[in-house]
């Protein structure tokens, strides 16, 4: 009985009793949700245009953050370091297209997937050689990212909004909106959406595979840099950051690998739900620390009922 009460009644009583805490939880969920959505978008873009599941996305986050911090450590001003890092991500995109994708065009998906594992191992090695493996501090204030907090007092309670988080939500939101506009209203965007469907057809209407691949990998690189800065500012820059990319996996299962809306909605959903679950069910009943697995369990449950994810394209096979 106690358990049932803990599951079905107490959490909601608490939410009503302390609305400020509820809002705080929602806010924290939103912040991580925006980051999950961004990373998931990186996966979706690459998958849509080349049917590759990019295992290296997580390492790209680490690599971008490391490059930024490393360049700054060499005495380069923060904003110039950001631009240079973008340049490095572009070079990375071009080399991946040139060295990995181009020779493997038309190979089975699993081979391309293995190739991205290779890329991620290579990047780990390269990152350690150049920048070393130890934990580093993100150059948050040097980049002009505010570090203070805004305190609100709704209903006499307390709501803490760290300025870093506000920046993350705003920048992430703008980036997501810009990507959406780009995909839906531009020639390149249309080409990206088209390419995944049929390479031959894409070529015949004048779409260059190479250009588009460089473009999507570069976009994934930009996303990696933004998420790297945001996450690095909270947890420091180390190879452990890679883990947040794996948090995007349940987002993809939920949203479907093909769907851009799915990545956004799925990311926000997982971000918010995992915080709510941990705060109101996980901590009281299971003693906390449920955030590491909650998203995966949720994704599994969804997959039981909708194998293509919430927004994925329905898989219909004609026989």
């Amino acid at each position: 009985m106690d358990l049932l009460r803990d599951i079905f009644i107490n959490p909601f009583v608490e939410m009503a009793a302390m609305p400020d805490l509820f809002l705080q939880t929602l806010w924290e969920g939103l912040v991580s949700g925006v980051l999950y959505a961004l990373i998931a978008l990186g996966f979706v873009l690459i998958f849509r245009s080349s049917r590759i599941f990019n295992f290296a996305q997580g390492i790209m986050v680490v690599f971008a953050a490391l490059t930024l911090v490393g360049l700054y450590a060499y005495g380069i001003p923060a904003w110039i370091a950001v631009l240079l890092t973008l340049g490095v991500m572009f070079v990375l995109a071009v080399s991946i297209e040139r060295v990995v994708l181009r020779p493997l065009v038309g190979q089975p998906d699993i081979i391309l997937f293995m190739a991205t594992i290779g890329v991620s191992l290579f990047l780990i090695g390269l990152g350690e050689i150049i920048f070393g493996g130890e934990n580093k501090q993100m150059i948050t204030s040097e980049l002009g990212i505010p570090t203070g907090e805004t305190l609100l007092e709704p209903w006499g309670g307390l709501l803490i909004l760290p300025h870093l988080d506000i920046t993350v939500v705003v920048v992430g939101g703008v980036l997501v909106a810009a990507l959406l506009a780009f995909l839906n209203y531009t020639k390149m965007g249309r080409a990206i959406r088209a390419l995944g469907d049929d390479h031959q057809a894409a070529l015949s209407v004048g779409i260059s595979l190479q250009t588009i691949w460089v473009l999507v990998w570069f976009i994934a690189g930009i996303i990696a840099l933004v998420t790297g800065i945001a996450w690095g500012a909270r947890a420091g820059v180390s190879f452990a950051l890679e883990v947040i990319a794996y948090k995007a996996l349940p987002v993809l299962m939920l949203g479907g690998l093909e769907s851009i809306t799915g990545a956004i909605v799925g990311g926000l959903m997982i971000g918010i739900l995992e915080k709510l679950f941990d705060g109101y069910w996980g901590y009281p009943i299971l003693g906390g620390n449920t955030e590491t697995w909650f998203a995966f369990v949720l994704a599994l449950i969804v997959l039981l009922f909708r194998p293509q994810g919430l927004f994925g394209e329905r898989i219909i096979e004609r026989v």
Partner: protein, 271 residues
């Protein structure tokens, strides 16, 4: 009746000068010769057919024209200049549009979006301008939409504009593919077996569309087809291929009387 300055067809249409010329094309895959030493030309405004039994090398020839294959030997002349080896998307940007034998459409996108991709070669505004939907980009998109709507009207597919292509039946898919190629306003339109797998009624529709396209937009069309009846009715001039060689070239009537062609189709043993 044919000269470099153009000619007049049997039904009295004026055909322009040479638009494209294939000179001594040979294509080898390893030890297999798919095409050996074939030359022919395509005049501006004509409907030119390439016919021949299965495995004659027709599709390979079309793939060479559209840049999917590079000939082992030989030259492609286009608009009076020799064409350097090119990627398919570069060829597309030079005004060569094509359809495929086994339909290559973007299944997940709507009919309208599919046809819009045909306009990609005509969009020049910068990415930034496109992203904020402003100035040149905006005008371009409007212009492109207009042309696309015209094509949709022309091919009578208004009713399915918003339908995802994956849901359409075969005959309609073929029509959408033609629409996408037409939207590019190509200088030359390549059709790879536009009537394969269609029933009589669909074939009649498709023939009508091909003739109308040629008539209304003056588009030069080069097509491959199996159905002899259809080809003879449609085309101004025909190239006949067999085992990678050219065995006939001329008007449908000339070709019909050619002994080699009759042999190829009726099946005389090759030595």
């Amino acid at each position: 009746m044919k000269d470099t300055e153009g000619y007049v067809t049997a039904d009295g249409r004026q055909i322009g000068g040479v638009l494209m010329e294939m000179k001594n094309i040979t294509l080898k895959f390893g030890g297999v010769t798919a095409i050996s030493d074939i030359s022919f030309d395509v005049h501006e405004g004509e409907i030119r057919a390439i016919i021949g039994p299965n495995g004659a090398g027709k599709s390979s020839m079309l793939n060479i024209i559209s840049g999917f294959y590079t000939p082992t030997v030989g030259e492609v002349w286009y608009k009076g200049a020799k064409r350097p080896p090119m990627k398919p998307y570069e060829v597309a940007r030079m005004g060569v549009a094509r359809t495929f034998q086994n339909i290559a459409l973007f299944e997940g996108m709507t009919v309208l979006d599919n046809i819009m991709t045909g306009r990609l070669t005509h969009m020049n505004a910068s990415i930034a301008a496109q992203a904020i939907w402003w100035g040149k980009a905006r005008n371009e998109e409007m212009e492109n939409r207009e042309i696309v709507e015209k094509v949709i009207d022309f091919l009578e597919i208004q009713a399915i504009r918003k339908t995802p292509v994956g849901r359409l039946p075969y005959g309609l898919k073929k029509r959408v593919e033609l629409a996408r190629a037409l939207a590019a306003e190509p200088s030359i339109l390549l059709l790879d077996e536009p009537m394969a797998g269609m029933n009589v009624e669909e074939k009649e529709d498709m023939s009508r569309f091909i003739l109308d396209v040629n008539d209304e937009f003056g588009t030069t069309i080069c097509l491959i087809e199996h159905d002899m009846g259809v080809v003879m009715d449609l085309s101004d001039r025909v190239v006949v291929m067999d085992y990678g060689k050219k065995i006939g070239d001329g008007t449908p009537d000339e070709v019909r009387g050619n002994q080699d062609v009759i042999d190829a189709y009726l099946g005389v043993p090759h030595d």
